[in-house]
Symmetry: C2
Subunit: 381 residues, 2 copies
């Protein structure tokens, strides 16, 4: 691995939504330092920051200084780190904090942090005074390649994840790739599961590129900006065609039906499993399940699992610390998913690398049998 570099690469991805809602995603090192001028260019008198305590300590003052130098009134609302803040209580805390900072209808909310902060601050912005504009400054790899793009915002309910929310597009996304230098290895890997996912969904060439270049993403070479931009382009294209997930946007859930079930079974305990780890296992399972159904070559499934493992990600049910129940429990957990209709399960399956499709009506018993065999698999080398 090389030392974190300071190359000046800065890339732009445009998200061409209609009705004046189109926006730019800027990707490069040091964007926080120049955020003020870019945010001020959007208009408004105030830009209030929402962040979590970890990110506040690292980047809060820097962003605030940049905003204030550009003449924007600012202030920071800080929530506790972790998924627990994506709750009714966290939502009330953020809304009340923004109101105390006197955010008016023409002002801006700036979400500085990972996906938790982006989803929470975005939902608060969507509903504060019936909607104020917001800017995403994603600081985790997952947030830079996935959650900050596409306008889904929201919180969790006791009955399930992301059940409350709004579609609210940001006015600007500033993905400062230098912030990833302080991200833990584990969170970096978890975000990388989503990077690889984009290749697997519909771009075999990008998966090839990932196999050759993934180390540069982790070490902070120019591959990092290239990868973030490629992912944002892929997600923006899907979101532009299907903003409200009536169709193809569901492909972005490759690996997620299994993954969400694993998260639910492990009680959303990030000590055991973080989202991206669930996605990595889920993606490997989606490929092996597709192979078992005769849809996808077994060697593609092997290649995917090998690559994820090389990047340090889990690919097997057996890898979940503390276990993840049995086949019945997993099928039950999947049946609670949003994508269930009339008892049949909808999966994203594959015909090979880069060839995913929506498969509704998958029989529960088929899934259960597959998972039973997965649990029984002899993993000795």
């Amino acid at each position: 691995m090389t030392e974190p570099s300071t190359h000046p690469v800065s890339l732009t991805v445009h998200v061409p939504l209609d009705a004046g809602r189109d926006y730019d995603i800027l990707i490069g090192r040091g964007l926080i330092e120049t955020a003020g001028a870019r945010v001020a260019a959007l208009g408004g008198r105030r830009a209030a920051i929402v962040t979590d305590a970890n990110v506040a300590a690292l980047y809060g003052d820097r962003l605030r200084t940049s905003l204030e130098r550009a003449g924007l009134g600012s202030g920071i609302v800080t929530v506790a780190p972790g998924e627990g803040s994506k709750s009714y209580a966290g939502y009330a805390q953020v809304c009340d904090g923004l109101l105390a900072l006197k955010v008016e209808r023409g002002d801006l909310v700036v979400a500085l942090g990972g996906g938790v902060v982006g989803d929470l601050a975005g939902f608060a912005a969507a509903t504060l005074r019936r909607g104020v504009r917001f800017v995403q400054v994603p600081t985790s790899l997952l947030a830079q390649v996935d959650s900050s793009v596409g306008g889904k915002t929201g919180i969790n309910a006791p009955l399930g994840k992301n059940l409350i929310g709004a579609f609210h597009q940001p006015r600007l996304v500033l993905a400062d790739t230098a912030t990833l230098d302080t991200l833990s290895e584990r969170e970096m890997r978890a975000g990388y599961a989503e990077v690889a996912k984009y290749g697997l969904i519909a771009d075999a060439g990008f998966f090839d590129w990932c196999e050759a270049n993934w180390r540069g993403i982790f070490s902070g070479g120019p591959e990092r900006e290239e990868a973030v931009a490629a992912c944002c382009r892929a997600k923006a294209a899907v979101v532009t065609r299907d903003e409200r997930e009536d169709g193809e946007r569901a492909l972005l859930n490759l690996g997620h039906t299994f993954g969400h079930a694993l998260e639910r079974i492990t009680g959303y305990d990030s000590a055991r499993l973080v989202h991206g780890e669930g996605v990595a296992i889920g993606t490997a399972l989606a490929f092996r399940f597709s192979a078992r159904l005769g849809l996808c070559p077994g060697q593609d499934a092997g290649r995917v699992a090998n690559h994820l493992a090389l990047a340090g990600l889990p690919t097997r049910l057996q890898a979940v610390p503390g276990g993840c129940g049995d086949a019945d429990a997993l099928v039950e957990a999947m049946a609670q998913d949003k994508k269930v209709r009339d008892g049949a399960l909808t999966f994203i399956l594959v015909r090979g690398i880069g060839q995913s499709f929506i498969a509704p009506g998958i029989d529960r018993s088929e899934v259960r049998a597959f998972l039973q065999d997965e649990f029984a698999a002899d993993l000795r080398p």
Copy 2:
């Protein structure tokens, strides 16, 4: 007064919004009994009712039976009556209740009650699973003529009323005018302040009609449906032209800058002042203030106050039980209003009955002097 009649009048007002969001407002006696078929015609498998305990006891079973007879799965979420339910806690209770009733993305939420229930259930619908459709079944006069039309939904924050919310248009409004037979006289009068307001804003002919026919609205004659329809037509026209209150929709706030200040000063204690009473006083003040500024004939101000008083509404600051502070306190309370920019106050003023206009930049000292004189006025006959 005549006995509540059972005349079969049923009127329809169409709200012609774009992008498939247009909807009908049906106005007539007994619409709850036939709600099932009309709601079922919108599609969806479930229609979950949100209501408050008062209205649940009177109409909950009746509406639920009608929905279930039409083949819709149903269920009721009941909140405590009163403004206190329009809170973060009330919002969480309604969302969790709807999720427990297994409301899915294609299903419907039915708001049965006054403006509190409509605003709360509407906001829950706007954000449950990032948006499900909803139907308004308003049961207070205020809700039938004002809050159920126009798509503003939301809750209060500790820092102020209606500060959190969403624009979310209903798919259908069923204003069952027979439900008003059980509304208290006081709530009926409060709603009537908003009815008269529509004439005062832009329709002098409707104010004439109100002077001649207001008793029929209270007693349940056919004038009730006519009045509700006239108000809905007026509000729908404004909302269609200015859905997000960038301009003329603000005219609907005639009487509300003063009124909201009074509500704030009396601590939103409905034992002292309900919204419509604040609006009645505020409307009388807006006319007298306009007259004082030489904008409006003094006789119009007198005519408005007389009519409101005849209908049993307060028109003087002195009428607020327990008092309402002094001129400074009222100006301060107004300055906390959303419509304040750079210290200058925006008012809705009038050139006469039916001739309101938006007046930005009204000097605080001008308002304070007016209120001082109002407080000092000798009210002995």
